[in-house]
Subunit: 390 residues, 2 copies
């Protein structure tokens, strides 16, 4: 009798161990945000399929994610201030905290030890231990007596720094967190009206903030930080006639292809091509709709563009050498996001209103796979763990 | 009695499962070649330590490695023609074959399904299934009736292609392996005398071969392949006086930092700075010895340089903005190789004659860790799995 129980027990244990013990590399994994149901779908890019679901992540209506330096964990930043650390190997939530009332995004430090979240409410940045999610330091975005700003465009930068923008204050702050308990903050004031989003160039040198309240872009050269913030492309914006803007373009998507920057025009049906040395416009390509993302294939030969409502059913692909559109695809209603595989042979596209993610061959443009996903938005692959600013 | 045996049995099984079942991400792993003893040391860059040894890899005197797209397996290319697939999760050899008599390097295809090896003997390239190491196709480097060339400078390129150079023939071949069983070969003849090594730019556009038999470099623009191979930097080489060259520089190491290419001068104590648009020399920085590798920190702000025998005991660090040496380190005798962590906060340096690998902070230049390794040479981290040409 005891003997039987022992066997049952030990079989049970063996199954328990094995069920969680599937050894696999984490280099070809990723997550897709199911925005409406507060879930994340785990995927495998080698198999082109979904491999699991993680539930209970709260409000993911404007969620983004970053990855631990071992590429095992994803940190998901929810709109409701939730910060959730999920384990891609056990398909489980590792830790979850509500760190603020309303947050907009996050970043991981160069050394992978700290995770920072940018918040609307209370306005500021909070920094956590990436291992435990224990709070490390709090940086309120106070720009006047008792005045706190919404924080946007938070990115990591080389030298253990975070950079972000204060929407209400029109400021850019650089935070050196080499000593996490004593962050050293450098503030740049009057950078422009209402910075609404930002990006950092892949080499981590230039921090570029888009402005909602005026034309132009605010650029900070992190190699020459004492030169301060420079205003560039002063004709870039909604112009004087203030065209109807269905959605301000996402800056993270900006494509540096070869020597040029391909950026979505604001309120216009066009992609603007910029020479980043002179910050002059080189050319302008007419597009199907108002671009939201213009993302370069990893080799920079093509730039993929999606569009704002109501013309958000298509993709256009620009050849960066010919500077012309070479292909158009119609995946379906509400094409929200694109993510390229690390070496660029495939791209994953989320089509929200079709509850579908499509996988395309980036050379032939053939659809290789379809994955059913509930209202998919952001798609994030683990190779981001190894990239400055992602 | 039976009952006891059962318990022992099931404990045994549990231990067996657990010992191989340590779940971990593979994003912060890597290998170090122990060239003299035919072993590979496994390391973890987050812990800054070695985590295992894999023995029985044959002659690793000029070994290199690449990684599977899931970042779980490393493919190690031995000098003796051995191709070994090692499992970074179980610390074991997964597969090993002797695929030729004398080989020099290898690459993995853009989609991760094929591994190619470049051979001296028999001269050519052999392509294998990355899953099983089963032979897929053989490409003998026959350039004349019964004349076979040593193959060097093998890299992967976007569009499921491999590119390599024929040392004896002075040719560059581009192989399209979209149909692995029917490779489409494009041959470029008379590219220059004795191409000895090559690199592909990080975007996968330019294939650049160094020439042993004459001055200059052979450049193929893969975006304009019909324009053929162009000869550039015709003053780059050993010059007319034929200086003593202790070691031809490694091309894989070439650093594209910002808008400039930092390349080792040949037989000279200098690093040459090139404008890749015009292929003109912009400046020349005097160095301690004959440079072997000049490798850019991932953010491109610094270039780290090591040197050929007999002055191979030091490192010099160049500031790419100031174009001057800002730091010198003396790690010890025979500094052979450097590998940066993906976001560039640390660099691992192999010091062969000291049987040691040092880890440095790339901002403060402090030594953070020392790892004892038997005659270390190449260091390879798993993020290479996600990079074109690596």
């Amino acid at each position: 009798m005891i003997f039987i129980r022992k066997i049952v027990l030990c079989l049970g244990l063996l199954i328990a161990v094995n069920s969680h013990a599937e050894l696999k590399g984490t280099g070809d994994l990723g997550i897709i945000i199911e925005r409406a149901v507060g879930q994340v779908k785990l995927i495998n890019t080698s198999k082109r399929t979904d491999i699991g679901i993680i539930k209970g992540l709260g409000d993911l209506s404007h969620a983004s994610a970053t990855f631990s330096r071992d590429a095992r964990y994803a940190f998901v930043f929810g709109r409701d201030g939730g910060l959730t650390k999920i384990d891609l190997l056990t398909n489980k939530i590792n830790k979850r905290i509500i760190q603020a009332g309303n947050s907009i995004g996050g970043a991981i430090s160069q050394d992978g030890k700290l995770v920072a979240v940018s918040n609307y409410e209370p306005g500021g940045v909070r920094i956590f231990d990436s291992e435990t999610l224990a709070p490390v330091t709090d940086i309120p975005a106070e720009y006047g007596a008792g005045e706190f700003s919404k924080v946007v465009g938070l990115v990591d930068a080389p030298g253990q720094r975070f950079v972000f923008s204060l929407y209400d204050a029109g400021e850019i702050w650089v935070v050196d967190i080499n000593d996490p308990n004593k962050p050293v903050i450098t503030k740049f004031k009057n950078v422009g009206l209402q910075p609404y989003d930002a990006l950092i160039t892949p080499d981590g040198r230039y921090y570029i903030a888009g402005l909602f309240g005026e034309n132009g872009l605010a650029v900070l050269d992190l190699w020459n930080i004492d030169k301060g913030v420079k205003k560039v492309l002063t004709n870039y914006g909604r112009g004087t006639e203030k065209l109807p803007v269905y959605k301000m373009p996402h800056l993270e998507g900006w494509a540096l292809a070869g020597k040029h920057l391909f950026i979505p025009a604001i309120g216009e049906h066009a992609v603007v091509i910029i020479d980043p040395d002179s910050w002059q416009e080189v050319a302008r390509i007419k597009t199907y709709g108002q671009p939201v993302f213009a993302i370069a294939r990893p080799d920079g030969r093509h730039v993929w563009v999606n569009f704002a409502f109501p013309k958000n059913d298509r993709l256009q692909i620009i050849d960066t050498a010919k500077m012309e559109i070479v292909k158009e695809l119609s995946p379906g209603k509400a094409v929200l996001h694109m993510e390229f595989t690390p070496r660029g042979e495939e791209v994953w596209v989320s089509i929200r209103d079709e509850d579908r993610v499509d996988v395309y061959d980036t050379e032939t443009f053939d659809a290789l796979a379809e994955i059913s996903v509930d209202k998919p938005s952001g798609i994030f692959f683990t190779h981001r763990a190894h990239k400055i600013g992602l």
